[in-house]
Symmetry: C2
């Protein structure tokens, strides 16, 4: 999604040129290019798919809506398995229209995971609950902290349900480092994503994630936390940013790789 202006073949080409061997994919562009076609494309290019984003949206009350959501999540699991990634990232869903019951919404996520977890396991896929920034609590994800994500995940085996650690969503939280430790101790850090925090936030607050180094988050600090917690998996950069999307995609990908080296590894 960081370079969603690139078509799937353009993305794969750009990764190859830049020596990037791993890529996190979103469902929509995969579906646009076709699941089989994407699978063949990345396989032929020797690219590893790190995660598939995203399943989730489990908070509906209506039984039909819940059944539709679960069926769609099973398809997402199937897609992840086809693409060869073992991790499906989940954005859990916001409050149903008119509801003020955060607790009930969080419980319905647990109910859905109880059904989806075993199915995912049967396909060799782990679910990764992503805590989203509290500014998304009403309309996108009632799981707002790593602690809440782990409270949910720990009801299930770690090989079924873990968490995504994303700097953009948790950087403000002084309890997040100890929650990363908790997640690591339980083998539940299933994915690690980077984005920087920049202001002013845009209208709707969806597409203002900053390029690494442009904002307030110390990327090395958070990378140290997950490393100290035993995480050795891929590190994804996931930017939703209108300004980046308006630029040449290959240029943005090259810049992102350079920023990654500068702000994470140097």
């Amino acid at each position: 999604m960081t370079v969603r202006q690139l078509s799937m073949p353009e993305l794969v080409d750009a990764c190859r040129e830049l020596g990037i061997g791993n890529v996190g994919l979103w469902r929509e562009p995969v579906q646009t290019y076709g699941l089989e076609e994407t699978t063949k494309l990345v396989r032929d290019a020797g690219l590893t798919v790190t995660t598939l984003c995203r399943g989730g949206f489990f908070t509906a009350v209506d039984p039909d809506a819940r059944a539709v959501a679960l069926a769609d999540n099973r398809r997402a699991v199937d897609e992840a398995a086809a693409l060869g990634t073992d991790t499906l990232v989940l954005v859990s869903g916001g409050l149903p229209s008119g509801s003020r019951d955060l607790h009930g919404a969080r419980e319905r996520i647990g109910d859905a995971l109880a059904e989806l977890g075993p199915y995912a396991e049967s396909r060799g896929v782990r679910l990764a609950i992503e805590a989203l920034h509290p500014m998304y609590a009403s309309d996108r994800c009632v799981v707002s902290t790593l602690a809440q994500a782990l409270d949910l995940a720990e009801r299930f085996p770690a090989h079924q349900v873990g968490v995504t650690v994303d700097t953009y969503h948790i950087w403000w939280d002084d309890s997040a480092p100890e929650q990363i430790e908790r997640a690591g101790a339980g083998g539940r850090i299933h994915s690690f994503q980077l984005a920087d925090w920049t202001t002013p936030l845009p209208q709707g607050v969806l597409n203002g994630r900053g390029q690494l180094g442009d904002g307030s988050i110390d990327m090395r600090e958070w990378t140290r936390y997950v490393a100290a917690a035993g995480y050795t998996g891929p590190i994804e950069v996931e930017l939703f940013n209108e300004e980046l999307w308006a630029r040449d995609g290959r240029e943005v990908l090259a810049e992102t790789a350079a920023r990654f080296i500068e702000h994470v590894f140097q």
Copy 2:
């Protein structure tokens, strides 16, 4: 600020007409009308000033900037004392430009409180640290949770430093109810404010606080929490909302009073 389109005399008139006997004031409109003039106006009208907003902005590193901030906060304490309120609400400040050190910024707030607390006590004023929503962590307030606010406040006597509980900022936080209990047990709930959470958030996310009943927050639930924690003080409605500001101020004040009755007390 909920009806900042009203001049101070218009506000006082409207309160009298609606039978509202308590009002929270902000420094800027008080300064615009004049401190002495405002003091006389509210006293003659029999209005009680519940709190003055806002002191704070303690996070600068530069010694001169810190001295300026402290001097301004002493003036804010003096203004609160003159207006007859015992509570000055504090918005602590964001990260200094280019900084990524949340921990250091929070410590500098503690340093400032150590100087300001005794001064405020000498003037009969209590300081109330307001945790602001995490979406303001970089540019406005590095104190993002009630727990962080209490961690700071508890370094000082409760009659010097407590907290503001504001539904808008903490409604997403499942640990907030126990933190309200902690605050109440320590006699540190110095103010309680209501605003509702509505989406989509506007650009800059400052002026989108919802009218009571329009959003995702259960006002009765949070009012119960503070009441159970022993709070018996005033309840303020503080809305920053461009749409409300564009309307007739008396009409908005009347609507707000009606919503307060409907969503808090009925």
